[in-house]
Every structure is written in C-alpha cells, then in structure tokens.
C-alpha cells in the first residue's frame, strides 16, 4: 500500500475499497468475483500508479491539472426528479445522477434488460454476468492490468449497469451521467452490454454536468459483446462544458458477421481520453470508427483506438478528424493489428487535422502491425490548414471570410457524422458544431483585427 499514499491525486478515493477488502474474510474473497476485481484493481494501481507522460500510451496527455482537485465519490441518495431535455429524441434512459443510478427514470422497455450493478452488489449478489453466462461477465474483456484507469475503475467498482439486448429496442438506449454538485465529483461507472444474436441497437453514452463551479471527473469502463449477426451503433457525446473531464475505456468483442459502428464527437468537454478497442474474433465481422474533435480554449482530446483482426475476412475502417483552435490539443493514436490467422483482412484508417492557431497542437500516430500477408491495409494522416484557393473561390462569390472559413470547416467535419443514422440527433450535432465553428472563426477574426491595429499603430 505504500504506493497509494493519500497525498497522491485521486488515491484518497480508494480508502473505502481498502477498508472493504481489509474486513473481508479469505473465504469471501475467494468466492466473490467483485471483491476479487476490486483487489486486482488496487494491486495493479499500487504497482503502476496513475499514468504520466512517460508512459507511451499516455505520452502527450498530461493528466496532472485534471486529477489534482479534491474529488469526492458520490454519497447519500441523490435523485433527479425528471430527465432534463438534452437530446431532441426519445430514448430508453439509463441515467446516473451524481454517479448514482436513477431507476425511477427508466420505464420498462421491450427487448432490453437493465440491471443495476450497485443493486447487485448491495444485495450481496456475486453474479456479475450478463444473463448468467460466465464469458459475458464484468472483467472478462477489460483487465485491471490493461490500463491504470481500468484498474482504478475496478478498485472503485460499485455503480454501473448490465444491459442485455434480446430483441431490437424501439428507441436508442441513453446511457447518461448527469452531475450537479458544488464539490469536485468523481464518477466511476462500469457498463457491460451484450447484444444477442441477430439484434440491432443504438446506444448513446453521454456525459453532462449542470454544475458551473466544480469539476466532474468521469472514469467509465465498458465491456461490450456482439453475438453473431448483431449490430451496434454506439455514439459518444462529449460536447458538454469545460469543467467536465472524462476517461472512457471501451472494449468491444465481436463474433461472426456482427457489425459495430462507433461515433465519437468531442467538442466542449475540457479533457477527454477515449481508449477504444475492437476485437474482431470471428470471420466476417465488421467495424467502423468515426471520431471528430472540434476544440478550442485549452481543451484536450485524446483518442486511442485499437482494432484487432483475429479472424479471416473481417473489415475495419476508421476516420478521425480534428479542428483545433486556441491552445487546444488533439491526440490521435490508431492501432491496427492483423494477426497471422486474419487473412483477407481489409483495414483502412485515416486521420486528418486542421490547425487554426499557432498555439494549437496536433499529435498523431497511426500505427500498423501486420502479421498476415494476404491483407489490404492502408493508413493516412495529414495535418494542414484550410486551402487558400478554396477560401479565395468562396470570397470571390461574395462570402465574407468568416463565412467561407466556417463553410469549409463545416464540410470537413461533416464527413465524420453525415452517416449517423438518427436524423434528429445528427441535425442537433450539426447545429451544435456549426455554432462552435462560428465562435471559433469569429474569435480568430477578432484577433486578426487586433493584430492589424497593433501593426498599424
């Protein structure tokens, strides 16, 4: 325990876990998988500590400013009387308010079984499986050894949800964390989602904070299983406010002919780290990953993706784009692994970035590791600015410079989400982003004006 001194950031959160493990008898420990997972998490954290920029996987992200706050875990019984209208669509709401599950907001939905993890734990149940199958249980896909934040998530294991989709739900499932607190809040959530054979579902994972004064730090780990011929659309919304930080670790395991489609929109949260990995375990599985960052001020977005091709005839494609203004930073690391058995793999990846300010930064690392020879794999990455010819063309047609810039940036960004299946949601995202782009460009124009005045005076 020497490494878990309370003086280190976030480590004070672990005292309850530590106590619960101290008081547990060896017999309890041996038979309770949840306790084991907590212990593994604690042990892994004691060994590695939280990541620093010296860790290759966390090279460009300095967490220090985000974890230094005196965060508290949710306490007591806080409840949200009704779900605020955030999205323009009706959903099946699985909502956590200040880190606590809100079962009263959830009305029974056809084809979806939702189990509260906290309820299981409090009842003393030892069953962390999604519908009783050992292979689909919490901790099967994400091991505390994988990453320090997964370890932290395991050590703090309490709140979360197990979702089992047995038939196509009529509405998208809205997994939301909403916070409102005067104190810095640490929200630790664990999700396990299983799509049965042949089902199709849309899941939206949204992080919102209504508090203006104190930051919220989200640490969310999700394990997702796609059975044969199932299809999942997973949408990450990270367009909240600057005081909302998040580390999201997601792993998807796919079986034969399953399809996953992921959209990540990062445009507002102060710091977001997405560690997303997809395992294509059986033939003809398919995954598509879309990501868009539109960043300003000192926002940081860090997208780490890994696609593992473990079986023949699978397909993956990935498109990540960023527009970075002010002092913001966008980090992208995309890995593609093609294992020796994964012949006839098609894997594409591209990453495009536009820098709008001299203080903005882009770090990108597209990475391929190929062990099979009959494959088609390509990746491309670019960093640049708006083509002046295109801006000029639009200006000759009478568009003011700001409008021309926004038009071009909007087109650049649009490619990422134009395929999004829920039209009202797509339109809402589009509108939010347009506003943001106008703000960014307008400010840049103001600054140019100020620079000019300086130059002439």
């Amino acid at each position: 325990m020497t490494n878990l001194q309370e003086t280190k950031p976030l480590m004070h959160l672990l005292s309850a876990t530590f106590d619960s493990l101290q008081s547990a008898t060896p017999e309890q420990l041996a038979h309770n998988p949840f306790l084991q997972l907590r212990k593994q998490g604690l042990d892994a954290l004691a060994r590695t500590g939280l990541p620093t920029p010296r860790d290759e996987e966390w090279k460009y992200l300095n967490l220090a400013p985000y974890i230094r706050h005196p965060y508290q875990l949710p306490a007591g019984k806080e409840s949200l009387s009704h779900l605020p209208q955030i999205l323009p669509i009706t959903t099946i709401p699985v909502v956590f308010f200040n880190g606590l599950f809100q079962p009263h907001l959830l009305s029974p939905a056809h084809g979806v079984t939702v189990t509260s993890l906290a309820q299981l734990l409090d009842k003393g149940s030892h069953d962390g499986t999604v519908l009783g199958e050992q292979e689909h249980s919490i901790g099967q896909l994400l091991s505390p050894e994988d990453d320090p934040f997964v370890a932290l998530n395991a050590a703090l294991l309490h709140q979360g949800a197990l979702l089992h989709i047995t038939q196509n739900p009529s509405q998208p499932i809205y997994l939301a964390s909403i916070t409102q607190s005067d104190q810095p809040l640490f929200v630790n959530l664990r999700f396990a989602i299983r799509l049965s054979t042949g089902t199709a579902a849309t899941v939206i994972l949204d992080l919102r904070t209504l508090s203006k004064t104190a930051p919220t730090f989200h640490n969310i780990a999700s394990e997702i299983w796609l059975e044969t011929e199932s299809a999942l659309t997973l949408i990450f919304l990270q367009n909240d406010t600057a005081q909302n930080y998040g580390v999201l670790t997601t792993r998807i395991a796919q079986t034969a002919r399953s399809r996953s489609r992921l959209y990540t929109v990062t445009a507002g949260n102060g710091m977001v780290r997405n560690t997303t990995s997809v395992q294509l375990n059986e033939p003809e599985a398919e995954t598509v990953l879309y990501g868009l960052s539109v960043l300003r001020d000192t926002e940081v977005a860090d997208h780490h993706t890994a696609v593992e091709h473990l079986a023949p005839n699978c397909q993956s494609s990935e498109l990540y784009k960023s527009i970075v203004a002010d002092q913001a930073t966008n980090i992208f690391n995309g890995k593609i692994f093609v294992h020796p058995e994964a012949q006839q793999t098609n894997a594409y990846q591209s990453n495009h970035n536009i820098l709008l300010s001299d203080d903005a930064r882009v770090y990108t690392k597209p990475q391929l590791e190929i062990f099979a020879d009959d494959v088609r794999c390509t990746h491309g990455a670019t960093v640049g600015q708006l083509p002046q010819e295109a801006v000029f063309y639009l200006r000759t047609r009478g568009l003011p410079e700001t409008v021309a810039d926004v038009l071009l940036l909007h087109a650049f960004a649009g490619e990422v989400y134009e395929q999004l299946p829920l039209e009202p949601l797509r339109a809402w995202i589009d509108q939010q982003l347009s506003h943001r782009l106008f703000d960014i460009v307008d400010l840049a124009a103001d600054r140019k004006l100020v620079d000019l005045q300086f130059a002439t005076s």
Binding site: A360, V362, Y363, P366, I370, D373, A381, Q385
Partner: protein, 481 residues
C-alpha cells in the same frame, strides 16, 4: 612473418564464401569497460586531454543510463563487460604507400572489391578503408587536398585538425544522447572525418568500407562530416562482415553538419552478416545517425539499403534548423529468416519554410520482423513547414511481420504534413505473369521487389545502385517456394 602467413593462408584461403576472417595480428584490449580501458584507448591513440575528458564524461553518463527497451526487437541481453573495446591491427609505423600495407589486409580488401589499386583510380572512388577500428589506408588524399577537402580517419583528424574536431564532435549527437551513443562516445576507436571548405563541390563520391573483423569486438565507429557554406559532398558507406557464431555489437555514431547553402548526401548499403537460417549469429547494428542543416538553404539526404545484420536499429535523422532547409530520407529495409529491423527517421522542423520527404520501403520475408518508426515534428517557430511521408511494406509469406509507428507532432498552424502507408504482398498474378514468360519464381520475386524499391534505388549513386539491386536478390534467396 611470411612463414606464418603461408600457414594461415592455407588454412583460411580454402574455406570462405561470403563471410571470412582475415588473419592479421591484432592488438586487443582486455575485455570489459572501465575508466582504465578508456584511458588506454585514448593513450594508444595519442589523444589530447580534452578528448579523454569528453570520453570519460560520456562513460560516466553511460553508467547511469539504462539500456533502451522500447524498440520492436528482441535479443538476449548483451554483456557489455565481456566485449573487447579496442582492437587494432599491429603496425610498426604509418604506411607511406600502398606497398607498405600488410599484404593480408590488402587481400582482404581485394576480396571485398575495394578499389585500392592504381587502376581503380579511374573508378573515381576515394576510399578510406577501415579494417576493425583503425584506418589503414587512404587514397586520393592528395587530389582532395588540392581542393582543400579533408578526408581522413578520425584519429588522424584528431591529430591534425583538432580545432575542427573539437568544434563539431558531439555537436549533433551529444555524448549523453542515448545509451549507445554514450557508449560510442566513451570508446569510439576510429571512423571517418570529412571537411569540405566553402564553395567547393567534392568532385568524387567519398566512400568508406567498414569491416568488422576480430572475434568479439564491438565496433564503435565515429563519423563526422562537415560541409561548409555552399559546398557539396556525397558520401558512401558500405559494410560486409565475416561469418560468425557469436553476436557482434556495432554501435556507430554518424554526425553530419551542413552549413548555409551546403548539401550532404549520405548513402549506405548495409549487408553485414545476418545470422544463419535459424537466426544464429549475426550483427547487432545499433547506430545513431543524425544530421543538422545549420544554415539557411542547407540540405541533407539520407539513403539507405539495409539488407544485413541480425538486428538493425537506427533512425538517420535531420534537424532542420536553418530556414528553407531540406531533409530527405530514402530507405529500403529488407529482412529475411530471423532478421529484425526497427528503422526510420526523425525530421525536426525548426526553421521557416523547411521541407522534408520520407520514402520508406520495407520488405519482410521468412520469420522476420520489419518496423518503420518515424517522427515528424514541427515546432512552433517553423512557419510553412512541409512534410511528405510514404511508408510501404511488402510481406512475403505469412510468418513475418510488418509494423509502422509514425509519430506526427505539429505545433504550428501553417504546417502541412502528410503521411501514408500501405501493406501489400507479392501477388500470385504477378508471379504467374512472369513465370509464364519463362522467368523462374525466385528471379521474378527479385524483379518485383526491385520494382517496389525503385523509388529509393534511384536515389543511390550509380555504383551503389547496381550493388544494391544484386543484394536485394541475394538476400531474398530461399524465401519463396
């Protein structure tokens, strides 16, 4: 002496193919590394005090460093205390002409085809031949001297041009840069030194043949090339090594300095002993190569063909400090059997309007692993920086691996950086087409690989390009069918 030589010749002459050991009396320092050995090396080479101090500083820094483990390569731990850090052919005095050179050494060079002979003068190649650590012969010196070009061994440069050496040695690769560079700085034995004065265009390709010879001798070459304002030089480096069972360590350092308007072209063909088919033996090639475009409009171009070595681990880099300077990197890395390569480049854009271009072709066959690892970094002040990178990999068989690790770091909005990578294999239809025209499969593969590599090969000087093409074919022998 002649009696001894005859016996040795009988024993060795009969049995060598590509790898061979030339039997020259060698002076070996006892194995192990400590300050004593460094003092011994420095004293042997009659070095000035400041250089000894520099070596010791490097050694102390090295002692505090940890062996790097991040590269995508695997090898048993190296026992640095069991290596010999100094091996030099014994000699009574410095040879004044070719005739004075030990005939055994001459024969070795002939086997390697190094044009030391008079008639080779027509080939237009000046050679600074390095046989284990100490330069034994330098030709064309007079001709170069007329133009004011200095081309000599490092030890000679230390004696005769100490000011230049002191000014530039370690200025691009500091003594504490990395584990192997520090080791090299502490124990480097010899290497080449080139200085091209302002406005001079070096009329011939300068070339060095490195050879690793004595068993268990790590070779620590140090090369320093300085192109003064408005000058041009093209430098070739090529390597062969004798058959060996034990792994040999090669940790060289190459520093290039291009001042205002100067251009340096550095070409390497590396075909050291890669180990046998089971992966036994072979050279460890852990090299630090870096150039700096110090003044405006300078240009540094690295071209490399890496076919040999059990492990190749190097990143020839360019620091683009001067405005409008240009950095280029053209590479072919071919691995077969159990070879491993982790190679690439770093382009650091600091000056305005700097441009860089990276073309990397890697070919993996057998059970080998081939990684491209590169960094393109555009710093805040580097207005209008431009980079284009292309990394293509070809896999032959399904037991090998191709890896790409490109790092792109941009801190200036006017930068334009492009990177693309593809992975492909030799198509059956291509082979079928060539077979149909009566070309055997092995030749067909060589042909396809040559085509794949063409973009890089065309950047090699003529003589090297011919050799490189042959090398690619030889290295792939037995990889198909």
């Amino acid at each position: 002496m002649s009696e001894d030589l005859k016996i040795i010749e009988e024993v060795t002459g009969s049995d060598y193919k590509y790898g061979f050991v030339s039997n020259i009396e060698e002076e070996l320092a006892p194995p192990g590394l400590n300050e004593e050995i460094i003092r011994f090396i420095s004293q042997k080479k009659n070095e000035p005090e400041w250089l000894l101090e520099w070596r010791l500083k490097a050694f102390r820094a090295w002692q505090k460093m940890k062996e790097p483990k991040w590269a995508n390569i695997h090898y048993p731990p190296i026992d640095f205390q069991s290596l010999h850090y100094y091996a030099a052919p014994k000699k009574q005095q410095r040879p004044k002409s070719l005739d004075e050179i030990d005939p055994e050494i001459r024969r070795t060079f002939e086997k390697l085809g190094i044009p030391l002979e008079e008639q080779k003068l027509l080939a237009g190649v000046a050679v600074d031949a390095v046989l284990d650590s100490v330069s034994v012969a330098t030709t064309f010196k007079e001709k170069l001297a007329e133009l004011g070009i200095i081309f000599c061994s490092m030890s000679e440069a230390i004696q005769e041009h100490p000011d230049l050496v002191r000014k530039y040695l370690g200025s691009v690769v500091p003594y504490n840069d990395n584990f192997y560079a520090a080791l090299n700085s502490a124990v480097f034995s010899d290497g080449s030194f080139v200085y091209v004065p302002p406005g001079v265009r070096c009329p011939m390709e300068l070339s060095t043949y490195f050879r690793i010879n004595a068993a268990k001798t790590g070779q620590f070459e140090r090369t320093l090339i300085i192109a003064d304002e408005g000058s041009y030089v093209s430098y070739l480096e090529g390597c062969t090594a004798p058959m060996r069972d034990e792994h040999q360590l090669h940790a060289a350092v190459v520093e290039l300095i291009a001042l205002k308007d100067a251009e340096i072209k550095y070409s390497t063909v590396q075909n050291w002993y890669p180990g046998d088919k089971e992966g036994k033996g072979g050279i460890y090639n852990f090299v630090t190569k870096r150039g700096i475009c110090k003044g405006p409009n300078a240009k540094i171009s690295w071209t490399q063909v890496e076919t040999g070595s059990a492990i190749t681990w190097k990143y020839p880099s360019v620091i683009l400090l001067g405005d409008n300077s240009v950095g280029e990197f053209y590479s072919i890395a071919l691995t077969n059997n159990h070879q491993q390569a982790d190679t690439g480049t770093k382009m650091i854009h600091i000056g305005k309007n700097t441009r860089s271009r990276i073309v990397s072709k890697s070919i993996a066959a057998g059970k080998s692993n081939n990684s491209y690892r590169g960094l393109v970094r555009v710093l805040k002040k580097a207005e209008n920086a431009r980079n284009y990178s292309q990394c293509d990999s070809m896999l032959i068989g399904n037991r090998c691996g191709a890896h790409t690790f490109p790092y792109i770091e941009v801190e200036n909005k006017t930068a334009t950086v492009e990177h693309e990578a593809t992975v492909s294999k030799i198509g059956e239809d291509m082979l079928f087409y060539l077979n149909q025209r009566g070309i055997p499969t092995e030749e067909a593969v060589a042909l396809i690989v040559n085509g794949f590599s063409e973009e890089v090969l065309q950047h090699l000087p003529m003589e090297f390009a011919v050799e490189a093409r042959k090398l690619l074919a030889i290295s792939l022998e037995g990889s198909v069918g």
